[in-house]
Amino acid sequence: MAVIELTSVAGAITPRRRRARTAAGRIGGGIAVLLPIVVLSSFITYSLGALSNSNPAATILGQDAATPAAVAHLDKVLGLDKPLVVQYWDWLTQALHGNLGVSYFTQIPVSQSIAQRLPVDLSIAITAVVLAVLIGGTAGTVAAIRRGGWFDRGVTMVCSVVTTLPAFVVGIILVVLFAVAAHLLPAEGYVGPSGGLWPWFEHIILPSLALALQVAADIARQLRTSLVSVLEQDYITGARVRGLPYRRILLRHALRNASGPALTILGNDFPIMLSGAVAAEVVFSLPGLGQLILESAQTRDIPVVQGVLLVVATFVVVVNLVVNTLLNLLYRTNDGIGA
């Protein structure tokens, strides 16, 4: 027992520094890969505005004041007379400085409206990720250990039901159960964390749960599959033979190697969660980014639409970068299962 401990400790220290260096290199490499993606997706975002044959200057000026001369003048002020690529470049460099332009109608800076709405979505998205990992991780692990048992069958069945239910339907079911029938939690509205931790939590727990369930189901299914195959590996049997406690084998050896695919799922599902956040915003009347883009789309307030799309796309890219980095740290020797 002591010998095993010693070798594992000695084996862990020496490669650590090398690992840290390669990890830094990989993060740098990851950014290099993501850069063209960010440029391309922001270009798609920007050119959507140009695709709309709406005439922003005429819209801003209103029907009476929109003489050709006034429109041409305002086009020049807004920079709309330049070629698309130049406009895009100006927009992007300004965006990197935190300036996303102003709303056509309210003249409020886009970044200000976004900053106002962002905490709502961040609250429910982060809580949803935590819930999804907790629920999905526990369900998947227990199902894998008790493979073939009633819990395993139950998890498999619940997962296939949950994946057919869109987030807004889950949200409505939760409202009916917890707010209309039981009066346990508020059905709508948002209170910032500054208004007290419990009121904040009370308002975001149902929307977060609505988002989390589908992702939890995905995580549970994936974790179960990979954990089952990891538990059959020789090194797990070896650890058993050496007499390591089962809990330790499970947490240190099996889960560590099995969690990669589940982590990938979490990264892939993040854009779906952001879309689900819009559903939650509507069902629970939360003033978030989804409501902002929906309102602005109705009035064709293009700068706001572009700004929101850019921010959410950036989020997805950052989350992917984090997930990839974690995966790289997890698989320092690249012989993991199914990665």
């Binding site: 993606i37 059905a187 059959e232 779906i272 980014l289 789309a297 639409v305 799309l309």
Partner: protein
């Protein structure tokens, strides 16, 4: 090999009971979407102020909504728009993704790089935000909205087709055909398309489910539809405002969406199960024989007991 039957025929898939049920459900949904408007027992738009929020009865089998309109008729008439536009999105995604996915294997490194980066960047855009932005730019209609959904289905179709094509393009018989002087088009047509088809079938089924979820969500948000027009998502959305009067109302459209999506997923699973291992991801069987670990555990228990 190349001239024989494809890897899976529809017959072998239909032998699975889950696939049979799924096909029956989907046939019913397609029937509804074609004839639903004509067969609806009442006019889905007729308002009846004397019959608000009624529960199921003989006259209104699924009850009435906040304007006294017959829910069954609204759901039947609403099937058309939901199903047709889901097909539109899948058609666009498949039409863009599958040919590009096959072509990219043969068109060289730069084309592959460009097509891959395009797919990557589209994947960073959460669909609902992108769709709303597209409707802001191109006009608010369900056809425009589902066009945007179709564009976002491109990366999935592209990647899966590309991966499947890559796998078969390295096969020896493809190499042999090329050595014998077969043109690229011939190789694609005779050797590859047939092999990629089962993968495409699985992907198409599960992406149709995703598209259907997207339509119901968009119509729920009120994107692309004018208010009185009935849609599944629209029925849900109006139910949401009257939860305290009729808390059971969202169950019916919700279940309708879930059952259709579930049937499509079941069909995709059936295709997947019928395809040979190695070609597609094969689900891990729920019940297995005793693993080494369990045998060891049992041995340990016996030892400690003794």
């Amino acid at each position: 090999m190349s001239r024989r039957t494809p890897l899976i025929g529809p017959g072998s898939v239909l032998r699975l009971p889950s696939a049979k049920i799924a096909v029956v459900i989907l046939a019913a949904v397609i029937f509804l979407s074609v004839f639903g408007t004509a067969l609806a027992p009442q006019n889905p738009l007729t308002i009846n102020a004397n019959a608000l929020y009624q529960g199921p009865s003989l006259q209104h089998l699924l009850g009435t909504d906040y304007l006294g309109r017959d829910v069954l008729s609204r759901l039947m008439a609403g099937a058309q728009l939901s199903v047709l536009t889901a097909f539109e999105a899948v058609g666009i995604g498949l039409g863009l993704g599958a040919p590009l996915g096959i072509a990219t294997v043969f068109l060289g490194k730069w084309f592959d790089f460009a097509a891959n980066r395009l797919a990557d960047s589209l994947m960073t855009l959460p669909y609902i935000f992108f769709v709303v932005a597209v409707t802001a730019a191109l006009g608010n209609g369900l056809v425009q909205a589902m066009f945007a959904v179709g564009i976002l289905l491109y990366p999935g179709f592209f990647r899966i087709t590309r991966a499947a094509t890559l796998e078969f393009a390295r096969a020896q018989y493809v190499e042999a055909a090329e050595l014998l002087g077969a043109s690229k088009l011939h190789v694609i047509r005779v050797h590859l398309v047939r092999k990629v088809l089962p993968t495409m079938a699985v992907t198409t089924a599960s992406f149709t489910a995703a598209a259907l979820l997207a339509v119901s969500f968009l119509t729920f948000l009120g994107i692309g539809v004018q208010p009185p027009a009935p849609t599944w998502g629209g029925v849900l959305s109006s139910d949401l405002n009257y939860l305290s009067q009729a808390p059971w109302a969202p169950l019916i459209p919700g279940a309708l969406i879930a059952i259709t999506v579930g049937a499509l997923n079941a069909l995709a699973d059936a295709f997947r199960d019928r395809t040979g291992p190695g070609t597609l991801l094969v689900a891990d069987p729920v019940i297995k024989t005793h693993s080494t670990l369990e045998v060891l555990e049992a041995a340990g228990d016996r030892q400690s007991a003794a």
